[in-house]
């Protein structure tokens, strides 16, 4: 059979962000694939060096459009460690609340994209509609749906009153019922299962080989979660389960992500129940003493790592950002081999690509 090369991207209905895939197929079977990144490379690591630490908080927010808060959290965490700054408890709690809400928002967004790409528009519409609840909460707290601009070095900019806590708890209940509905549908809907089961398989060995992180790794039975393994912020005081699944296919990833959403709503409730009083931020000096820091945190897609070096000025000498999408992209080569052309869309959406993150 003759080989045909199908271009997927940089612009393709399947991709929400620019990424170029050249997939060689024989009939309906994929035999080879080539990838090209960099269509949204903005040189953020270089831009950081030209801006002050305060300005960089907002630059880091723009590394990713979906998990913007976790990037500022990791960055601020690193700079605070360099400064030796004690962040007020209330600030840490609110920061973590936003992190968990963002996880729900990111996972539901992903489910919508997956469903859309496999021709299940209803789930796409519903997932995004319920995601709106998470966005509404974040909007009411921070004034922004995606760019929250909540983190500042030394704490958070926002505060909540009792009425807001009450309202958010109500919205979380609503979110819970809807996530349960979605879980029911994906667990029982036959067409969803036949499209996602045994598609995009990754064995635990492959996950380790390619250093894959986050829900993709957890769906392949690799039990890693920085929130539990290296508790930052206040995660050591919270009680939650790390969800893993043994199947390693796209369906397992869906289940893992939705169950993580449920865990996140529980975490939000715990945070709101034990929200301490006090200030939300402390004043940070503008100049950061010379030193280096490695800051990690668990983004919705997995481990985010920041390396920051200061040379004692008000601008960082080097900021290195590694986002969780990059190793997931590397693992795509193996997942795409020998799949059906129709499954390319499911495989590509299954790992939750965030190209803007990967390109920076």
């Amino acid at each position: 059979m003759t080989k045909v090369t199908i271009p997927i991207g940089p612009q393709h209905p399947l991709l929400k962000e620019p990424l170029s895939f050249l997939v060689t197929v024989e009939g309906e079977r994929v035999v080879d694939s080539k990838m090209r990144l960099g269509y949204v490379h903005r040189g953020i690591e270089r831009l950081c060096q030209q801006r002050t630490y305060v300005q960089n908080v907002h630059l880091m927010e723009r590394v990713c459009g979906i998990c913007s808060h976790v990037h500022t959290t990791t960055y601020c965490q690193g700079v605070e460690a360099l400064l030796g700054l004690e962040v007020p408890e209330r600030g840490l709690y609110l920061r973590t609340l936003l992190c968990e809400l963002e996880r729900i928002h990111s996972h539901l967004l992903w489910l919508g994209v997956l469903a859309k790409n496999m021709g299940f528009d209803t789930i796409f519409m519903y997932a995004w509609r319920y995601r709106e609840i998470a966005l509404d909460i974040m909007e009411s707290l921070s004034g922004g749906r995606v760019s929250h601009a909540v983190n500042i070095i030394g704490g958070v900019r926002i505060d909540m009153d009792a009425a807001q806590v009450e309202a958010v708890l109500g919205q979380l209940d609503e979110l819970d019922t809807h996530i349960t509905t979605l879980l029911g549908v994906i667990e029982h809907e036959k067409t969803f299962r036949v499209r996602t089961q045994n598609v995009g398989l990754l064995s635990p060995e492959q996950v380790r080989r390619y250093c894959v992180v986050g829900p993709v790794a957890r769906a392949s039975d690799v039990d890693v979660d920085l929130r539990r393994d290296a508790p930052y912020s206040i995660y050591d005081r919270l009680d939650f389960k790390v969800i893993t699944h043994a199947d390693g296919d796209v369906w397992a990833r869906t289940v893992v992500r939705l169950l993580e959403c449920v865990e996140s709503t529980k975490l939000c409730r715990q945070i709101l129940a034990s929200l301490p009083d006090g200030p939300t931020s402390t004043r940070a000096p503008r100049k950061v003493p010379a030193g280096e820091v490695v800051s990690r945190s668990e983004a919705p897609r997995g481990e985010v790592i920041y390396y920051i070096r200061s040379n004692g000025k008000d601008k960082p000498a080097r900021v290195k950002v590694r986002t969780p999408t990059l190793p997931s992209l590397l693992a795509l080569y193996d997942q795409l081999r020998d799949v059906n052309v129709a499954d390319i869309s499911v495989v590509l959406s299954g790992v939750d690509l965030c190209i803007a993150c990967a390109d920076r």
Partner: protein
């Protein structure tokens, strides 16, 4: 979880969607609902502004500019096209003079008109955001 038919999971949702209002926001035809802390139009209270320049120094998008002639005579200029609406100026301001309002900034066809004098402390009054001085 009990093994039940998939239709029973989706059907209640379908019915609910069918009988309830669509969740589409009809924005241009009806007013948009903005949250309380929405970061929109940048406004400065000229009486409170001391011209310290902290907002200018911290603005990540270089959207603010301070033109100073003397201690009491300065202009705070704002470029809405550069602004990222992050709210850093509001955090940085020690005098609570600058704030982001719960308001949209209107679209403007020409980029050159996007230069707003927020504070002109020679005259001591704030100008409107729409670009006319």
């Amino acid at each position: 979880m009990a093994r039940s038919r998939p239709l029973f999971y989706l059907l209640p949702e379908l019915w609910h969607s069918l009988v309830s209002q669509p969740c589409t926001v009809g924005y241009p035809f009806e007013p948009a609902v903005l949250p309380a802390g929405f970061r929109g139009r940048v406004v400065v209270d000229p009486d409170k502004c001391k011209g310290c320049g902290l907002c200018v120094r911290d603005c990540p998008a270089f959207a603010l500019e301070l033109q100073r002639e003397s201690r009491d005579k300065y202009k705070l200029i704002y470029y809405p096209d550069r602004c990222a609406y992050c709210g850093q100026c509001e955090i940085s301001c020690h005098a609570d003079a600058i704030s982001l309002q719960n308001d949209f900034v209107h679209a403007i066809p020409e980029r050159d008109t996007l230069k707003v004098v927020l504070v002109d402390h020679d005259k001591g009054r704030a100008c409107d955001v729409d670009g006319e001085e």
